[in-house]
């Protein structure tokens, strides 16, 4: 009872305060939440209101963490970088924070995880206790430790594959734009051929021919995603090579290497970095999907995709354990997209508005 009274009192006081200080948007949001809460309270009772409170609390917490993290980054970085970071919205700061956390988890996995990734310490599907933060999986291995190791394996693999795709695609794209002529045509047609094969089928084909080895996964994914990078790079570089400064450099007698490295690349980094973030998400999901199908990273190596599949039976007992690795995947994808959005916003002219 006290909770319900406190809940409404807080909302009403907050909306009044917002109205008093002329925060129109905030006031509208708070007051409509109050009105919605009346309906929710009648239909769902106290638990519904509690859920709303917890959700709002989590949101506020995430906001506070992002804000603090951004300030931390600004304080840590140099003057020019700090100026850029100040323009970052809270969502981007949240994304950076999540990526940062994952990176720490991945790099220091053996020290953070309490048990090894293949270590059987309990019975199958044991519930969480003081030893196991998130319970055990289908073989009695610690779920939490496997999530931590998964960050290293899955994210590491996705990162390597994306970087390879970028090295191949960007190099080909820059060369095609700079050289032009038949080379450009040839690379374009090769890219078309690769893009005409459905990506998942191509990956399954490669993996069933050469076996589910790590390097096969990396090469297959790199080949699938390189044409997309190629097309973007070629388009971006195509806009740069027509500039007078490229003509001046050509007339000076500069070689292709110098043209690409010193003249074209610095002017095409922004869209490429944004594309890198997007492609990383796709690659990550593709690898998770392959693992789910049993053709990705092989057991007993911990991997978020296969962890979802192995624990899938638990979902019919109303347990959320299989959703935890899935949530880890979702959170990273969302986080990367937040950061990418900010970068796209910066590189496009939108900020002028």
């Amino acid at each position: 009872m006290a909770f319900v009274v406190g809940y409404y009192a807080l909302l009403v006081i907050a909306s009044c305060a917002a109205a008093y200080f002329n925060q129109r948007k905030l006031f509208l949001m708070l007051f409509s939440l109050t009105l919605v809460s009346f309906v929710l309270g009648i239909v769902g009772g106290v638990p519904a209101l509690r859920a709303v409170t917890i959700f709002a609390g989590l949101l506020a917490f995430a906001g506070a963490v992002s804000y603090a993290f951004r300030e931390f980054l600004i304080a840590m970085s140099g003057e020019e970088l700090a100026k850029e970071l100040r323009t970052a919205p809270l969502t981007a700061a949240f994304g950076m924070f999540v990526i940062f956390t994952y990176a720490i988890a991945g790099i220091f996995a053996p020290w953070i995880a309490p048990y090894g990734e293949a270590e059987i310490i309990s019975t199958a599907f044991a519930p969480a206790d003081e030893n196991m933060l998130l319970g055990a999986d289908q073989l009695g291995r610690d779920m939490f430790s496997r999530i931590i190791y998964g960050a290293r394996n899955t994210v590491g693999l996705a990162l390597t594959a994306t970087v390879s795709a970028f090295v191949i695609g960007a190099t080909a794209g820059l060369l095609a734009a700079t050289k032009g002529g038949w080379f450009d045509q040839f690379m374009g047609r090769v890219a078309d051929v690769i893009m005409s094969i459905p990506s998942l089928i191509f990956a399954l084909l490669m993996l069933s021919i050469f076996g589910p080895e790590i390097h096969v996964i990396i090469i297959a994914v790199a080949i699938i995603y390189a044409p997309r990078v190629f097309r973007l790079t070629r388009a971006v570089a195509g806009n740069v090579v027509v500039m007078d400064y490229i003509e001046a450099a050509r007339l000076r007698g500069e070689g292709t290497g110098y043209l690409i490295r010193r003249e074209i690349l610095p002017n095409s980094t922004a869209p490429l970095v944004a594309e890198f973030g997007l492609e990383f998400c796709f690659v990550f999901l593709l690898i998770a999907g392959l693992s789910f199908l049993g053709l990705g990273i092989q057991p007993p190596t911990a991997d978020w995709g296969s962890m979802v599949r192995e624990n899938a039976t638990l979902i019919s007992f109303g347990d959320i354990t299989p959703l935890i690795p899935a949530a880890a995947i979702a959170l990273l994808t969302v986080a990367v997209n937040f950061v990418v959005d900010w970068m796209l916003f910066r590189s496009s002219g939108l900020k002028e508005q």
Partner: protein, 552 residues
């Protein structure tokens, strides 16, 4: 012109406009007053960044994105625009206030026919029915002396020439018979010969309908033809305002006087060396075409001697820049050859040796696209020195400092900066330094001053002249601006439709008898005399200007 002052149409008082940059609001217009009577034409002049266009937009009650009107009042025909609602202001635009933009090609929607765009406003405001509006449009086209007035409106914008499009846009602005038209540099992008017909058309139509106009331009000679009153602006402040004749004869402020004096820069003309030395560059019977296209150059030949400036003039499309591309080797000629001190140069730049490439350098028109925005000044200038002369470390740094000194920029201030941080004139100087870094004998200057304000352009011309004397450089000066030719050239090459029509020392070229085309070019350059246009039109007859002019 000297009609008694009539009813006030537009009254701007204490106008202040701010722009948002670097997270603060900066003043762009700092308190400008303006009064415009019915039927009066006001010329607004000033350098770029003076706030001319911003005031023009404000006269419609409009603040561009990222700017705001922070103080002052704008009263149009008794209505206060700063406090009027957006819909009230919108109702004025198009019907009572019209706007003619600098680039008609960019302002017309390429997907619709000209007449469809013309009739949109009168139909929207229910001033005329569609068919009436269409007939009215044809009548306006006729008054503006567009060819085939009954048919031209049914073409798409890309099917008519630039000068015709600009006139069609003026006709469109007239479609609702507005009280006020704002012309924002309507002839800046046009050739001199085309400019005249647009100027004549605008002046006629403004007279005929007794429309008030604000004419924004940076070209004094143009404003002298068009305006009753001239207002000079400098960095958002008014410098002075006076009736045109008074302003031209007796400017009060130093700044205005300096603007007037720009066109007086002239240097002594040099003649060809007589010791029998070979020309630095000589173009011999060159024919050229772009892949699969018609011939762009037809039997072009001329010589450029050491230490001399050869100006190549002509309208856009006459083959000036193509000639430059042939000389640099970007476009191998179909026939003929380019000689360097008597030695033939390989037709393609990729086949030339480092030393041959070094001898011919280029300075570009648009300094914005000629300098890589992501590379520091030190590297832009240093790279040619490093590339050709193999300088490294301290020697390279000394050379860059030396070059920056040469172009009158302080090395300590500019060494580590990036091109976007510089002003237009400074960028052009860096472009010059990059060409000099190669230690060439010959520099091609492709419209180097046409994107710059007059005062800045004069500085660049003086700099080029000084460098020529110090380093004994030969210049090929591509331009369409005959005032520039007058001040800097030793020899002139006149081009038309890819052919050289006349060629000779400057003093002979500026004295009659001329080739008819040269004559047309020369007589089309606006002069400061306010009656110049009237006199010219009387001489030529109204139907014999610009594209319609008969050239023998």
């Amino acid at each position: 012109m000297n009609t008694p002052k009539k009813e006030v149409l537009l009254k701007i008082r204490g106008l202040e406009i701010q722009g948002y940059s670097d997270e603060t609001w900066v003043d762009i217009i700092k308190g400008v007053d303006l009064t415009l009577h019915r039927g009066e034409v006001l010329g607004l002049i000033g350098e770029s960044g003076a706030g001319k266009s911003t005031i023009g937009a404000a006269a419609m009650g409009y603040a561009r994105d990222g700017t705001r009107i922070s103080a002052g009042s704008i009263e149009f025909d008794g209505m206060e625009l700063t406090t009027a609602s957006e819909s009230e202001r919108r109702a004025l635009r198009g019907s009572r206030i019209a706007y003619v933009a600098q680039s008609a090609a960019a302002s017309f929607n390429p997907a619709h026919k000209i007449i469809d765009q013309h009739t949109e406003a009168p139909v929207h405001y229910r001033i005329q029915k569609r068919m009436e509006a269409q007939e009215d449009a044809m009548e306006l086209y006729e008054r503006l002396r567009l060819p085939n007035p009954g048919e031209i409106g049914f073409r798409y914008p890309h099917q008519v020439s630039g000068g015709q499009l600009q006139r069609a846009m003026t006709a469109m602005a007239m479609s609702c018979r507005p009280d006020l038209i704002i012309f924002d540099e309507p002839t800046t992008a046009l050739d001199v010969t085309t400019q005249i017909e647009v100027l004549a058309a605008i002046r006629d139509i403004v007279d005929q309908f007794n429309t008030a106009a604000i004419y924004i331009t940076h070209d004094l000679a143009v404003v002298a033809q068009m305006a009753d009153t001239i207002k000079v602006l400098l960095r958002g402040n008014e410098v002075e305002e006076a009736p045109t004749e008074e302003m031209l004869e007796n400017p009060q402020e130093d700044y205005t006087k300096s603007l007037w004096a720009v066109r007086s820069f002239q240097r002594p003309q040099k003649s060809r060396p007589t010791d029998g030395s070979k020309p630095v560059i000589s173009v011999k019977n060159v024919d050229a075409a772009y892949t699969g296209g018609a011939k762009v150059l037809d039997d072009v030949s001329f010589d450029i001697y050491e230490g001399m400036t050869v100006a190549v003039v002509g309208e856009s499309g006459s083959g000036k820049s193509t000639t430059a591309r042939v000389i640099t080797g970007l476009l191998p000629p179909m026939k003929g050859e380019v000689l360097h001190r008597g030695e033939p140069l390989p037709p393609k730049y990729t086949d030339r040796t480092k030393d041959q490439l070094r001898q011919a350098q280029m300075i570009y028109q648009m300094a914005d696209t000629a300098l890589n925005p992501k590379v520091r000044i030190s590297e832009i200038i240093g790279r040619p020195a490093q590339f050709y002369s193999g300088l490294k470390g301290a020697a390279l740094k000394n050379r860059v400092d030396e070059l920056l000194d040469l172009i009158e920029l302080d090395p300590s201030k500019f060494y580590n900066r990036f091109p976007p941080e510089l002003s237009g004139g400074q960028k052009q100087r860096i472009g010059i330094a990059r060409a000099l870094a190669a230690e060439p004998e010959f520099i091609i200057c492709d419209e180097v001053t046409s994107a710059l304000d007059q005062l800045v352009a004069e500085g660049i011309l003086k700099l080029l002249d000084r460098l020529q004397n110090e380093l004994n450089l030969a210049y090929m000066f591509i331009t369409h601006d005959l005032a520039t030719v007058r001040s800097i050239a030793d020899e002139v090459v006149v081009m038309q439709h890819g052919r050289v029509v006349e060629h000779g020392p400057k003093d002979e070229m500026f004295k009659p008898p001329h080739h008819p085309y040269t004559d047309l070019l020369l007589s089309s350059v606006p002069e400061m005399d306010p009656n110049w246009l009237t006199t010219l039109l009387e001489e030529r007859g109204v139907d014999n200007v610009g594209e319609a002019a008969k050239v023998g």
